[in-house]
């Protein structure tokens, strides 16, 4: 049965409360996982594990958080910014994320900000919706 976006959001919220030890009120659609909610690298795997259980889905490695694959590659990163081909790959790998702001200044240090609560909800909805 397809889930509504609200249902998905509520469950994602529960997952993030458990995985990151944050309060429900701290979580909003726009909240970034690293900046606002204090997630570290191991938390991303924790979130993936919990989402798989909560929604009974399989999340292939790097499908939800694919940025690491880009970082070490000179074709994709130049002078601390994503190149055009890096940007194209990111767009292809993150169809569930709004990249319009990031595209104006594709600083790799800001790549963590791309992972928002909304991007997770969109991703999960794509799997269960």
């Amino acid at each position: 049965m397809a889930m509504s976006r609200e249902d998905v959001y509520e469950k994602v919220q529960e997952v993030l409360v458990d995985a990151l030890g944050v309060d429900e009120e701290e979580i909003s659609e726009k909240a970034t996982l690293m900046g606002d909610l204090g997630a570290e690298s191991i938390d991303f795997l924790d979130i993936v594990f919990r989402l798989e259980k909560a929604f009974n889905i399989k999340i292939p490695r790097e499908e939800l958080f694919p940025a690491e694959a880009l970082m070490g590659n000179a074709d994709y990163v130049k002078d601390g910014k994503l190149t055009a081909s890096g940007m194209a790959l990111l767009r292809e790998k993150m169809p569930h994320t709004d990249l319009s702001q990031f595209e104006k200044d594709p600083d790799i240090n800001k790549i963590g900000d791309l992972f928002t609560v909304a991007s997770i909800v969109n991703y999960v909805q794509g799997k269960v919706g």
Binding site: A19, I42, D46, F49, E52
Partner: protein, 160 residues
Amino acid sequence: MRWIWIDKFLEFKSRESAVSLKNVTLAEEHLHDHFPGFPIMPECLIIEAMAQTAGILVGEAKGFKEKVVLAKISKAVFFHFVRPGDQIRFHTKIESIANEAASTTGKVMCGEKLVAEIDLMFSHIDQNLGGKQFPKENFVFTDMFMSLLQGFIKPAEKSV
């Protein structure tokens, strides 16, 4: 020497669950200082004992090829003190396991009493996303650690 905070395994179901046991005794010197006149097993060591129990379970699931290190304490809630003379059991099960990491849940019991709930995450450090290199030898699963599993897995399986 490596500190080992479990005495033996009681159950070991490969890739699923394990139960280990520890006898707590005043012969453990740190209890004399923690605290003078009121010895209790430090809660950080209870977490370490759970990490050893669950870490061996996670390591065995991948044939002890991975270096399994504790990466995150997802939950640690304590309900009772553990005192000298207590025999505590660490019940743990694997919730999720992937190439890079594993998550486990666990309960610490003293008789029928629930002492603590401890959920952990382990990282397989050779699979880290940063591509960092670590020594080749598996410094996590040393012989002393492996001896705990005698009787539960065949010797040949250890080196696979």
